[in-house]
Amino acid sequence: MGEFNKPFDAIVVGAGPSGNACAYMMAKEGLNVLQIERGEYAGSKNVQGAILYADALEKIIPEFRDEAPLERHVIEQRMWMMDDKSHSGMHYRSDDFNEEKPNRYTILRAQFDKWFSSKVKEAGALVLYETTVTELVKDLSGKVIGVRTDRQGSPIMANVVILAEGVNGLVGQRSGLRNEVSPDSVALAVKEMHFLPRETIEARFNLSGNEGVVIEAMGTITKGMTGTGFLYTNEESISVGIGCIVSDFAETNVTPNELLEAFKNHPSIKPLLADSECKEYAAHLIPEGGYKAIPQLTGAGWIVVGDAGQFVNAVHREGSNLAMTTGRIAAETVVSLTRKREEMTAANLAEYEKRLGQSFVMKDLKKYKGIPELLHKNKGNFFGTYPKLISSAMQTWFRVDGIDKISKEKAIFRNFRETRTLWGMMGDAFKMVRAWR
């Protein structure tokens, strides 16, 4: 392993979207990059819904549509509020989404990450799979100067280490670069892959060609816990899953598997999955703490990108795009410092945070900084009372049963007031609006 004698310009830990974006951009600019991934192949450890937002990837690989393994482009979004037997909600479908360069696609992460990783290698980075980084190597001043792995006996050195190790990033947490993730700022999601012939999917969801539908659901499906369910159409399969905040799970004693089973058997979901064959069951954490949970992002010789930095916008269910964008911005920072022959000091690397502050990443996370706490503190109302009230209001309104409409309106209003005081409801609405702005 003579090639490891000379320090690399950069080592990237992890080959998810953040690490791949970062390694690709640096290698393309001619830096000497080593990327280390613990899985047998990139993607073998990774789980996502999964919706890919084109914009973030387009800024890295503009022609990705010609070669990346994409499933369907999304033309319809359904947002469902569910109680035990019903759903109400909002659907938005537009032929405008059948554009030449669609904006959102469904993907399968194991296949997508493998493709992205092949691009990283094409760009000239050295990628080691089946290798787990076990610790960071520091010099006497505390500056990170390399990593140790479970394969190479001696440490591998680099000018800078980019931690793209995901939400469960042990390396950064154990080295004390950031606090341990807390159970109330992460969600545990379980997911299954259900296979069906593509014609069946197209008929069931009213689709043709590569058009796709995504459903996001909330309500009593999470049994009063803060969380959401989802169902996405792929080419020949459906991804279905549900996730809740870990500390909520720990309190309720509902098993994640049972929660998913109940969601799959909900009368609104079951017919969509009928006769499908399940081929995989997966679980993964999602950072949900938002802006307030973002840890220190840089220090002497190191940068954090993606989920390891808690970069997820839970309100809009965006994560992989923030991962790619933070990876790209970290790469731009390192490339510019390397070109100027500047040291990877804490002060110089702080440039990354400055650049992030100007991007949509920080602006969006800041906008919703109050939402995680609001939902968590009022979970009984948002994930129990309101979905039930809305369902019963809808039923009162739509049933034609000889009762006049004025009496129906009064009954609906009374039901709302009796279940949750007017002040309580107005307070929640007010807090929601404030947190949203």
Partner: protein, 101 residues
């Protein structure tokens, strides 16, 4: 909660059969430290682990069999304060291998 609780435990094991794993025989990546009485956090893993890896013995202790582990990290986070679980990633290349993710 009886409706959701009705799904039998065995079902999760059936689901795990569909997954691919490369088990690092004799080198489990998760261990529960010896104890007499488990903390509430450790006890909660019996229901919380999405792969059903945790169970309670007749003596009341909690044990883990990590062969079907999905490497989500939940047990590490939940028991971090009590320190009852020793958690590492499997050696490079071992563990769960998602085909779709």
């Amino acid at each position: 909660m009886s409706d959701v609780m009705a799904a039998p435990r065995a079902k999760v094991e059936e689901k795990l059969f569909q997954n691919r794993y490369l088990v690092d025989a004799g080198r489990p990546h998760i261990k529960v430290k010896p104890h007499t009485t488990p903390s509430a956090s450790l006890m909660s893993m019996v229901t919380l682990c999405p792969a059903g890896c945790y169970s309670q013995t007749e003596g009341g202790q909690v044990e883990v069999a990590a062969d079907g582990c999905l490497e989500c990290g939940t047990c590490r986070i939940v028991t971090r304060k009590t320190g009852e679980v020793e958690w590492n990633y499997p050696r490079g290349g071992f563990g769960v291998l998602y085909k779709f993710g």
